[in-house]
C-alpha cells in the first residue's frame, strides 16, 4: 500500500510539473505566424481539456482504490449498470468534442486558402537536400546541411546549430503571403519548420501546396520529417526571413548571379574556375553519398579511381545529367545549371588524384540539356 501511495503522489507531482515544464520551453513553439499561434492555442486548449478529464477520472479511480481496499474491510457492492450515468458520460465527451471540432475546423479552413499569394516558391526534396526555386524570378539553388561530418563523429565540438545548419538557407520576405509548391525527385520527404507551422509532404510525381505569412524577421530551423533513407536525419530546413527591402536586395543579387551564369554558358571556362565551382557543388550535392573524399560508401560507388567513369567521359556526363534509373542516383540535369553540372564533372575527373586533365565545358552540357 505504501507503494500505492508513492504512485499516487508521483502521478500527482508529474501532473503538477507538466504545465510548469511546458512553460519552460519544452512545448510546441508559438511560432511567428497567425496560423502557428492558432495551432498553438488549439494545442493548449485540447491539452488542458485532457488534463481536466484526466484529473477527474484518475481522482475517482485513486479515491476508489484507496477507499475500497479490502484490507480496510471494504465490502463489495453489486451494482453493474446505471443508465443515467452512462448517458451522461457518453453525451458530455461528445459535446466537448464538438466544441473542440469547431475551432479546429475554422483554423483548417484558413490554412487551406492559398489564394492571393505574393510569391511562389517551388520546394523539391532530394535525397538528402532541398532544392528551392523562386518561380518567375529565375532564381534557384540547393540547400544542403553544412554541419561537418567531424562534428557528427565527435572529432570536433558540436556547434550551436548542430545538424540544423545549411549552406544556402531559403530566404523569404516578411509580411508577404508565400505559397510553397512541394514535390520530390525520389522518395517522399516532408518539409517542416515548427516556428512557421508548415509541415507538408513532398511526394514524387505530385505537387502539394502550402503557404506562410511570416511576421517577424529571423532564422527558423526545421528538418525533414518523413523517413527518406540513410541521411534522413541530415536534411535540415533553414528559412531566413528578412524585411522586404533586404529581401529585394538579396533577390536582385541572386538574379544577377544567375544571369551572369546563364550568359557564361557559351564562353570557354578555365580549369581553375570549374574546379573551384565544382568543389562547392560537389560538397553541397554529391558528398552525402559519394563522400567528401570521393571514396563512396555502401551502395554508393567510389568516384576516386573509378575506371568506368574516368575512361568514358560521355558516360559520366550522361549519369550526372540523366541519373541512373533503379538506383538512388538522381538526374541532376533538372536541378543543377549547365555550369554547375560541367563544374562538378570537371571536379570529379580531376580531384583526389583522378587527374585526367579533362575539362568539361558548360556549353557541352547545355547541348545535352536542350
Amino acid at each position: 500500500m505504501r507503494a500505492m501511495l508513492a504512485w499516487v503522489t508521483g502521478m500527482g507531482v508529474s501532473w503538477l510539473l507538466a504545465p510548469a515544464a511546458l512553460a519552460n520551453g519544452w512545448n510546441m513553439p508559438k511560432g511567428v505566424t497567425e496560423i502557428s499561434r492558432d495551432i498553438y492555442s488549439l494545442h493548449m486548449t485540447i491539452f488542458w481539456i485532457c488534463v481536466v478529464i484526466g484529473v477527474v477520472v484518475f481522482a475517482v479511480m485513486f479515491y476508489s482504490l484507496f477507499r475500497y481496499r479490502r484490507s480496510q474491510g471494504a465490502k463489495a457492492d453489486n451494482f453493474h449498470e446505471h443508465t443515467t450515468v452512462e448517458v451522461l458520460w457518453t453525451t458530455i465527451p461528445l459535446l466537448i468534442l464538438v466544441g473542440m471540432a469547431l475551432p479546429a475546423t475554422a483554423t483548417l479552413q484558413r490554412m487551406y486558402d492559398p489564394s492571393g499569394a505574393d510569391l511562389d516558391v517551388m520546394v523539391t526534396g532530394q535525397q538528402w537536400r532541398w532544392h528551392y526555386e523562386y518561380m518567375d524570378e529565375g532564381v534557384s539553388f540547393t540547400s544542403s546541411m553544412s554541419t561537418p561530418t567531424s562534428q557528427i563523429s565527435g572529432e570536433e565540438a558540436r556547434g550551436e546549430n548542430y545538424l540544423l545548419d545549411v549552406d544556402n538557407p531559403l530566404v523569404l520576405p516578411v509580411d508577404q503571403k508565400v505559397r510553397f509548391l512541394l514535390t520530390s525527385d525520389d522518395v517522399i520527404h516532408s518539409w517542416w519548420v515548427p516556428e512557421l507551422a508548415v509541415k507538408q509532404d513532398a511526394v514524387p510525381g505530385f505537387v502539394n501546396e502550402n503557404w506562410v505569412r511570416i511576421e517577424e524577421p529571423g532564422i527558423y530551423r526545421g528538418q525533414c520529417t518523413e523517413l527518406c533513407g540513410k541521411d534522413h536525419a541530415f536534411m535540415p530546413v533553414v528559412v531566413h526571413a528578412m524585411e522586404q527591402d533586404e529581401y529585394d536586395e538579396w533577390l536582385a543579387e541572386r538574379k544577377a548571379e544567375a544571369e551572369a551564369e546563364a550568359n557564361s554558358v557559351d564562353r570557354e571556362w578555365e580549369m581553375d574556375e570549374l574546379m573551384e565551382r565544382g568543389e562547392q557543388v560537389y560538397g553541397s550535392v554529391c558528398a552525402t553519398c559519394h563522400q567528401q573524399d570521393g571514396s563512396g560508401s555502401g551502395q554508393f560507388p567510389a568516384l576516386a579511381g573509378n575506371d568506368q567513369m574516368l575512361d568514358d567521359v560521355d558516360w559520366h556526363k550522361d549519369v550526372v545529367v540523366n541519373g541512373v534509373s533503379g538506383t538512388p542516383m538522381a538526374a541532376f540535369g533538372g536541378s543543377l545549371s549547365a555550369v554547375e553540372v560541367a563544374a562538378v564533372i570537371t571536379y570529379e575527373r580531376n580531384a583526389w588524384d583522378n587527374d585526367t586533365g579533362d575539362v568539361v565545358q558548360p556549353s557541352e552540357i547545355q547541348e545535352m540539356l536542350e
Partner: protein, 551 residues
C-alpha cells in the same frame, strides 16, 4: 442463436464417457501422441499450441526489445557512436515489425488459444489441425524476416510502415524476402482468426448465449473479424510492392503513372484496424481482471460490448489520420478528423466503466491487478495524446515527431503489453497450478512502470520541441530528453528479465493454486482444476441451469 453442441474431441480421445473432473486428471497418464519434439511439432491441443504461441511471442519480444535497445543506445547522446544510419534504420524497422507482428499479435493469439475454449466451455479449438498449421507458419515467417539482417544490403530499412517508393524503387534487395515473410505471417493470422470465430460461434457450452460470454471472448471475436477484413488488404498491398519491385509494374511509382499516396491509403486501411487488433483483446483481459480483484461485477457489460463493436467499425473510417500532411483535400481532412474524434467516445466509455467497476468494490492488489490498473492509467494517457493528434491543425505540428512515438508507445507498451503481462500473471495459476511469485511480480511491476514512463514520457517533450522520429542523430536541444529515454529504455528492458524469472519459477513450483485461483474470479476457466489438464470440457458444462452471471 442457439448454441450447437460441441463436437467430440476429434483425435486420440474418444473416451469422454466417464465425464467429470476426476477423469480429466488422469489424462496426463494416457496421453497417446508422439513424444519429444514431435509432440510439439504435431500437437493439435489448444493448450499446447497456446503455450507455443506465448513462448514464441516472448522470444520475439526480447529480440524486438534488443533492436529497440540498439536504437536507444545510439540515441543516448548526440552524434553517431555505435551504429551507422543504414543499420539504425534497419533496427527501427525490424523493431516495429517484430513487435507488432511477432510479439503482440502472437501473444494475443496464444492467450486466445489457451483461454477461449476454457472460457466458453469447449474441449478444444474448432479446427485443431489448422491451429497447429497457423502456429508453425510463424517461426518460418520470422526466421525468414530475421535472416534478412544477414543478407547483402541488409534488412528492410524503410520503417515498419514501409512507404513506397522508399521500400520499392529504393529498398534493399531483401525487401522481397520481407514481403514473403509478411505474407506467411498474414496467412497465419487469417487462419487463426477463422479458427477463433468458428470456436466462439459454434462451440460455446449449451446455454451460454453471446451476451453471457466473458469480454475477452467478445473482444477476440470482434478482433478476429477485423483480422479477416484487413489482413487481405495487407497481402494485397505487399503483393503490389512485389510486382513493382520484380515485375516492372508501377502501382506506386509516379514515374510510371502510379501513385505513392495510394500505398499509404492501402497500408493504413489495413494499419488502423491493425492498431485496434492489438488493443481490443487487451480491453478484454483488463475487463476480466478488474472485476476479479474488485470482487464486483464489471460495470456496463453490455456497453463494453457495444463500445468494442463501435471501435471496430470506426476503425475502418479513420485511416487517413495517419496521413494528414500528405496533401489531401480539405473535405477529406475534416471527415477523418471528425471520425477520429468520435472514437474517443467509446474508448472513454471503457475507461469510465473500469473506473466505476472499482468504485465501491473490495479491492486487493495482486500483480495482475497492478498491471491492469497501470494499463488503465497509462492507456488513458495514450488516449489523450491520441485525441490531441486527431485535431488536424495541431497534428501538422505533431506528425512524424517523437510526440507520435510517445503516443503509440503509451497505447502499445503500458497498453497492449501490460495487458498481456497482466493476463499471463492472472492465468499462470491455471496454466501451471502454481501462483506466480508475488514478491518478484511486484518488483517486475514497479520497475516496468518506472522504466516505461522514463522511456516514453520525455518523448512527448522532445516531439513537441521538434524532434522528428526515425533519426539516428539529433540537434543538441533534444539531448536531455533522449538521455532520460535511453536510461528508461534500458531499465524497462532489463526488468523484463524478472518476468522470465517469474515464469520459470512458476512453472517449476510455488504455492499450489486451487481450481478457483482468485477469490473474485467468476468465469468458466476457474471451474477446471489447476493446472488445467490437457483435455478439459470433454463433456460440455451445462450453463442453462446457471444463474446468468452478468445480468
Amino acid at each position: 442463436m442457439a448454441p450447437k453442441l460441441p463436437p467430440q474431441h476429434p483425435l486420440e480421445h474418444s473416451t469422454a464417457t466417464t465425464a467429470g473432473q476426476a477423469h480429466e486428471h488422469d489424462d496426463h497418464h494416457h496421453y497417446g501422441g508422439p513424444g519429444g519434439i514431435k509432440r510439439w511439432l504435431l500437437t493439435t491441443n489448444h493448450k499446447e499450441i497456446g503455450s507455443l504461441y506465448l513462448i514464441f511471442s516472448l522470444s520475439m519480444f526480447f529480440i524486438g526489445g534488443i533492436f529497440a535497445l540498439v536504437v536507444r543506445a545510439e540515441l543516448f547522446q548526440p552524434g553517431l557512436q555505435l551504429v551507422q544510419p543504414e543499420f539504425f534504420n534497419q533496427m527501427t524497422t525490424m523493431h516495429g515489425l517484430i513487435m507488432v507482428f511477432g510479439a503482440v499479435m502472437p501473444a494475443f493469439v496464444g492467450l486466445a488459444n489457451w483461454m477461449i475454449p476454457l472460457q466458453v466451455g469447449a474441449p478444444d479449438m474448432a479446427l485443431p489441425r489448422l491451429n497447429n498449421f497457423s502456429f508453425w507458419l510463424l517461426p518460418v515467417a520470422f526466421g525468414l524476416l530475421l535472416s534478412t539482417l544477414f543478407m547483402p544490403g541488409g534488412a528492410p530499412n524503410f520503417g515498419w510502415t514501409f512507404y513506397a517508393p522508399l521500400s520499392t524503387d529504393y529498398g534493399p534487395p531483401s525487401t522481397t524476402f520481407f514481403i514473403f515473410s509478411l505474407h506467411i505471417a498474414g496467412i497465419s493470422s487469417i487462419l487463426g482468426a477463422i479458427n477463433i470465430i468458428a470456436t466462439i460461434l459454434n462451440m460455446r457450452a449449451p446455454g451460454m448465449r453471446m451476451m453471457d460470454m466473458p469480454l475477452f471472448v467478445w473482444t477476440w471475436l470482434i478482433t478476429a473479424f477485423l483480422l479477416i477484413a484487413v489482413m487481405p488488404v495487407l497481402a494485397g498491398v505487399i503483393t503490389m510492392m512485389l510486382m513493382d519491385i520484380n515485375f516492372g509494374t508501377s502501382f506506386f511509382d509516379a514515374g510510371g503513372g502510379g501513385d505513392p499516396v495510394l500505398f499509404q491509403h492501402l497500408f493504413w486501411f489495413f494499419g488502423h484496424p491493425e492498431v485496434y487488433i492489438m488493443i481490443l483483446p487487451a480491453f478484454g483481459i483488463v475487463s476480466a481482471i478488474v472485476p476479479t480483484f474488485a470482487r464486483k461485477p464489471l460495470f456496463g457489460y453490455a456497453s463494453m460490448v457495444y463500445a468494442t463493436a463501435s471501435i471496430a467499425i470506426l476503425s475502418f473510417l479513420v485511416w487517413v489520420h495517419h496521413m494528414f500532411v500528405v496533401g489531401l483535400p480539405l473535405a477529406a481532412e475534416l471527415f477523418f478528423m471528425y471520425t477520429t474524434m468520435l472514437i474517443a467516445v467509446p474508448t472513454g466509455v471503457k475507461v469510465f466503466n473500469w473506473v466505476t467497476t472499482l468504485f465501491r468494490g473490495s479491492i486487493t492488489f495482486e500483480t495482475p491487478m497492478l498491471f491492469s490498473l497501470a494499463f488503465i492509467v497509462m492507456f488513458t494517457i495514450g488516449g489523450f495524446s491520441g485525441l490531441m493528434l486527431a485535431i488536424v491543425p495541431a497534428d501538422f505540428q505533431y506528425h512524424d515527431t517523437y510526440f507520435v512515438v510517445a503516443h503509440f508507445h503509451y497505447v502499445l507498451v503500458p497498453g497492449a503489453i501490460f495487458a498481456i503481462i497482466a493476463g499471463v500473471y492472472y492465468w499462470l495459476p491455471k496454466w501451471t497450478g502454481h501462483y506466480p511469485d508475488e514478491r518478484l511480480g511486484r518488483w517486475h511491476f514497479w520497475l516496468s512502470v518506472i522504466g516505461v514512463n522514463l522511456t516514453f514520457f520525455p518523448m512527448h517533450f522532445s516531439g513537441l520541441a521538434g524532434m522528428p522520429r526515425r533519426i539516428p542523430d539529433y540537434a543538441l536541444q533534444f539531448a536531455d530528453f533522449n538521455m532520460v529515454s535511453s536510461l528508461g529504455g534500458f531499465l524497462f528492458g532489463a526488468s523484463q528479465l524478472l518476468f522470465v524469472a517469474v515464469l520459470i519459477k512458476c512453472v517449476r513450483g510455488g504455492e499450489k493454486a486451487p481450481a478457483k485461483a482468485w477469490e473474485g474470479a467468476e468465469d468458466l476457466e476457474w471451474s477446471v482444476p489447476s493446472p488445467a489438464p490437457l483435455h478439459t470440457f470433454e463433456t460440455p458444462p451445462d450453463m442453462t441451469s446457471q444463474a446468468p452471471q452478468r445480468h
